[in-house]
Amino acid sequence: MDELTKIAYNCRKATHLIEKKLIDHLTLREKLELKIHLAGCSVCRVFEQQSTLINKMVRDLFHPEKITELKLDEEYKKQMQERIEEKLNKH
């Protein structure tokens, strides 16, 4: 089996290339390999779509206007406030 035939059937390598593509860039050869694989593999096409989606969601997870902000408990906040004021008022 030649190399291109191998990649055409290798989902493990294809998913790795998808991750690399999303973060970095692929070499021409890698681009070709991935293209050939995805042309014939609908499962990896789903993976790529979802992987892109997950990256976008993780990136947006901390946008202040989008996040469901967690609440720190009031007692702890009160303690922190006291410590800050103590420091501020020391002098």
């Binding site: 059937y9 290798n10 989902c11 493990r12 390598k13 998913t15 790795h16 991750e19 690399k20 973060i23 970095d24 499962v43 990896c44 789903v46 993976f47 779509q49 979802q50 992987s51 989606l53 997950i54 990256n55 976008k56 969601m57 993780v58 990136r59 947006d60 997870l61 901390f62 202040p64 989008k66 996040i67 469901t68 902000e69 967690l70 609440k71 720190l72 702890y76 906040k77 922190m80 406030q81 410590r83 800050i84 004021e85 420091k87 501020l88 020391k90 002098h91």
Partner: protein, 196 residues
């Protein structure tokens, strides 16, 4: 020790209002990245105290919140570094590849049938509308081992360069890619399991 003249004279910032304005935000920032309530609380407190000490360094070039977040971010990276140094030695590539046999056939690299990605059904919509999916994503992130979460969030939340991540967490470039790949496989699988 703190320089109290600076505390008294820095008019650019109002430490007395920090807790009310930023405590929840900073707590969320820390918690999403380290997945430990008590530690996240401690880091927020440490951030405020450290900021008081360096009040004279705040020049108002960025917002108060950005400045406080930067201080917290360094503390989070310290935690990553401590947690991951224990892991880093063990994370060898061969081990990860064995683990991936769960996902892919050992011989031909095909997806194993039970692990094949299935459509979530929300790929085409704006996912941010879907709070429930976001919630599951956060839960799934929290299940990841410390080193994976560190690498993954530094890359995908904070957009750090790969070189910086490898250096800060003492991970080799090849292990970096192994971790990124396996984290995504696991995260995606967790979403599928809990969503569909």
């Amino acid at each position: 020790m703190s320089n109290n003249n600076d505390i008294a004279t820095n008019v650019l910032t109002e430490p007395g209002k920090w807790v009310a304005q930023y405590a929840d935000y900073l707590y969320t920032y820390a918690y999403t990245r380290i997945n430990d309530e008590d530690l996240a609380k401690d880091l927020v407190q440490e951030t405020f105290l450290a900021a008081l000490e360096k009040l004279d360094q705040f020049k108002g070039n960025s917002s108060e919140r950005t400045w406080l977040t930067a201080i917290l971010k360094n503390k989070v990276i310290d935690v990553y570094r401590k947690k991951s140094s224990a892991f880093a030695q063990k994370t060898d590539v061969a081990e990860a590849e064995r683990e991936q046999q769960d996902f892919f056939d050992h011989n031909d690299g095909h997806w194993n049938v039970e692990h094949r990605p299935k459509a979530f059904g929300i790929e085409e919509q704006d996912p941010l509308i879907n709070k429930e999916f976001n919630y599951i994503l956060q839960k799934c992130l929290q299940k990841l081992p410390a080193l994976w979460l560190s690498v993954f969030t530094m890359k995908h939340m904070d957009d750090q360069s790969t070189d910086v991540i490898c250096e800060e967490l003492r991970v080799s470039p090849s292990n970096f890619w192994v971790i990124i790949h396996r984290t995504k496989l696991n995260l995606r699988a967790c979403l599928q399991k809990n969503w569909i």
